[in-house]
């Protein structure tokens, strides 16, 4: 039972503002270990909402639980690269040491074990988050230590050692996470003197700032590649006030972790980019929507914000310009891939379920709280700040005609040097593989599960918007791997992360996965290949948002580029293979009766 007054004080702490519902629920979860039905009812009553709406939020996000989640809640990353790096053994060790199964808590309620989608640590897997603290490169021995510490009631935070490099080592972060910056480029990882961009910007008109960004040909770095200058222009000219700048720091595409490194090492560049965007679109308020998995960076980021305020680069009359105000607040997510979709992110930032909106209207006209909002990726905003500092001409000298500048890639999987690489657009995949020390890759997943899986014959292709666009995730799959495992893993990911709103995505992906299972278990025919392709196209065409419109890609792109792999699995010479397995069907009955019914039948 909730202690008296706890819920009241939490709700009062957020001034009974329903748009802070996620923050309230997070605090309830943290203080009471769950968001019970009673807690939901109490919150609803205090906010004059329906209880079911509070429950809707509490059950949408992965890191909330309506039953006790455990004094220590272990969230083990289940993506494919974690599998490659030994997740199964680690998961087993957790189960053996705790005596409990994944998806449940120990009988005494002390430790809960859960799987979770990619937590942005692909270059240091297997990894897990325990009570918000990140543990990387887990081994059986480390798990043993961790479980012993939890059983002894120790502060889990003290077990996160050794600390990683750079700011990961700093007092406000103290995380095991490593940056693994393998290649520094001129845009993102060159030292940046705070003020260099915003001080220049405020001497120009907002229109001139936008014109400079347009001249640079900067395209959004989150994956969709919308021209940033145009977005700012659309937002800036909207009449409704106020305008908002929202930074999308919810990178959830499996295999991407580049924004984490930027947030760790170059947050001042990011915040300056937000200030420049604010000046350009006429916004005084910026929001950094930070994925819950990166909550360990929040204190660090808050401190950087404070420093910038002290330097008068944020706050009132910034950079010495009268009437020019801009500040940033940080809003935390709570575990949902879909919130990387900009309209779902806005819903979530307003304290609701992270469900995408119908568009049009687009966020530039109807965004945060229904007001004009520019939503930009972390890397995009950093790049914009650098363009202001160095100039569009300088920027355009890098990259390809249609993809100016550099791109930060998160490289993981079967390679010697996983980590982030800031490369010029136009780099050939094979050159990236060389840099990462991946000599004999058989497949490369470009752009994460929602992107494309390419085969050796395509390694000459170039990473850029004209050829192979990517939000940054590059997963290398070595010759020893069964590519089907990756395809299955990616489909499981989309099934779990679909918001459930629209029918084709909610129901269709599970149907595709079942068909894939039929094929990989050797029961498929060429008709199954035709069907899976056709069904995948229907889901892509009819789904409501980018998630469903790309979710069949793991199957469709491997079917296109690794057709022989599928053909080796199917019976090409027949139209029908029975899926019915008599032994399996009567297994339960056989166990109960102690006899093999098939034998009895044959006698």
């Amino acid at each position: 039972m909730p202690q008296k007054g706890i819920i009241e004080s939490i709700v009062a702490g957020y001034k009974k503002d329903p748009s802070r519902l996620i923050d309230m629920v997070r605090e309830v979860q943290k203080k009471l270990g769950q968001v019970s039905s009673e807690s939901a009812a109490k919150i609803a009553a205090l906010l004059n909402m329906s209880k079911v709406d509070v429950e809707g939020v509490a059950t949408f996000y992965h890191f909330f639980s309506t039953v006790p989640a455990g004094t220590y809640a272990v969230y083990l990353n289940n993506n494919i690269v974690a599998d490659m790096k030994g997740r199964k053994a680690v998961a087993e060790a957790f189960e053996i040491e705790t005596g409990s199964r994944f998806g449940t808590t120990t009988a005494d309620g002390l430790i809960g074990l859960y799987e979770t989608s990619c937590i942005g640590m692909n270059d240091q897997e297997p990894s897990a988050i325990i009570n918000g603290v990140v543990f990387t490169k887990l081994t059986k021995a480390k798990v043993k230590e961790l479980v012993a510490a939890m059983k002894a009631g120790k502060d889990i935070w003290k077990m996160a050692k050794p600390y990683g490099d750079g700011a990961n080592h700093s007092k406000l972060v103290q995380a095991m996470v490593c940056n693994h910056i393998r290649k520094k480029g001129p845009v993102l990882f060159t030292p940046f003197k705070s003020g260099a961009a915003i001080k220049k910007a405020v001497t120009w008109t907002a229109e001139d700032v936008i014109a400079e960004i347009k001249r640079s040909n900067l395209l959004g770095r989150g994956g969709a590649g919308f021209p940033t200058g145009l977005k700012w222009e659309f937002c800036g000219r909207e009449k409704a006030l106020p305008h908002y700048v929202v930074c999308n720091a919810d990178e959830g595409e499996p295999g991407t972790f580049k924004d984490r490194v930027i947030l760790t090492e170059m947050p001042h560049l990011l915040f300056e980019g937000m200030a420049v965007a604010g000046y350009a679109v006429g916004a005084q308020e910026g929001i950094l929507y930070l994925r819950a998995e990166y909550a360990y960076l929040k204190a660090h980021l808050e401190q950087v914000l404070d420093t910038l305020r002290k330097k008068n680069l944020l706050g009132k009359n910034i950079a010495g310009k009268k009437g020019c105000h801009f500040d940033v607040t940080i809003k935390l997510g709570a575990g949902a891939y879909i919130c990387g979709e900009e309209s779902a992110l806005l819903e979530s930032a307003e304290g609701k379920r992270g469900e995408p909106r119908d568009r049009p209207p687009f966020p530039v006209t109807f965004g945060y709280r229904g007001l004009p909002t520019t939503v930009n990726n972390v890397e995009t905003l950093c790049t914009a700040a650098r363009i202001l500092d160095r100039g569009a001409g300088w920027f355009k000298l890098m990259g390809t005609p249609k993809s100016a500048g550099t791109k930060l890639l998160s490289v993981s999987g079967d390679c010697v040097k996983p980590g982030v690489f800031e490369i010029e657009f136009g780099l050939k995949v094979q050159d990236l593989l060389k840099m990462a020390g991946a000599r004999d890759a058989k497949a490369v997943q470009v752009g994460g599960p929602s992107g494309t899986c390419i085969s050796r014959g395509q390694f000459e292709r170039r990473l850029c918007f004209e050829d192979l666009p990517t939000g940054g995730s590059v997963i290398i799959i070595g010759p020893q791997r069964d590519l089907f495992e990756a395809v299955h893993n990616f489909m499981d990911f989309f099934i779990e992360e679909s918001c459930g709103w629209c029918a084709p995505c909610r129901a269709g992906n599970a149907i595709l996965k079942k068909k894939l299972q039929k094929i990989t278990s050797g029961k498929g025919t060429s008709k199954d290949l035709q069907e899976i392709e056709s069904w995948g196209k229907t889901i892509k065409a009819t789904s409501r948002c980018g998630l469903g419109q790309t979710s069949p890609n793991p199957i469709l792109t491997t079917l296109q580029n690794f057709r022989e792999m599928y053909e080796a699995k199917i019976h090409g010479d027949t139209d029908f293979v029975s899926e019915f397995d008599l032994e399996a069907a009567i297994k339960a009955a056989s166990t109960v009766t102690g006899q093999k019914l098939t034998e009895a039948h044959h006698e």
Partner: protein, 233 residues
Amino acid sequence: MNKIKFTIDGKDCFAEPAQTIMEAAIANRVYIPALCRYEGLKPAGSCRICTVRVGRSHMAACTQPVAEGMVVENIIPDLEDMRKSIVEMLFVEGNHLCPTCQKSGNCELQALAYRYQMLVPRFPYEFPLRQVEPAGPNLLLDHNRCIQCLRCVRGITTKDGRPIFGHIKRSRKMKISFDRELVAALSPAEAKKAMDLCPVGAILKKEVAFTVPIGKRKFDRIPIGSEFENKRS
């Protein structure tokens, strides 16, 4: 104000500014199959049955505004097959046993299945385990038949605008739920409205299931869409 001119399957149509394709289609007496849409409710775009094609893009007619000169494709074989496949997905995702359903003959999912002459879904059945729960003194909520169209969520509210139904969880686990106190306060007339709003047999008012016998119900008499389309045999 000038009307917007556009076409649906070659037919010249006219729309008011800001109308959606669906609203304009209805005004022009053109049937676009749909399931989650309900007159007077904010469109949800959740069932995707009303997907139409404009150029190379697919879009939900219920949420997409009409634009001048738009060339909308609607009743064409590949779109109709996509719609049929979504109907089939909804059939296999839940447990839809028409012969035992109180809503048979008044059910829009069933009516669409008839329209598309669905004999058996192309997808394997999932037979999920779902529950039937009482919702206050007047209603039953049968999750087996729910298609998550969100009509009840959008359409049934308290006088001060609070929703009585809501949806919880996500992904395939998403389901309709309700505020117990608020649902208990629904009058019999409001409960009847909730049942009528539900396109399938998921929200049922107690004690009225068979007032109109099966065989004499809405879609037993006329196929869905026939108010605009020539009656199909």
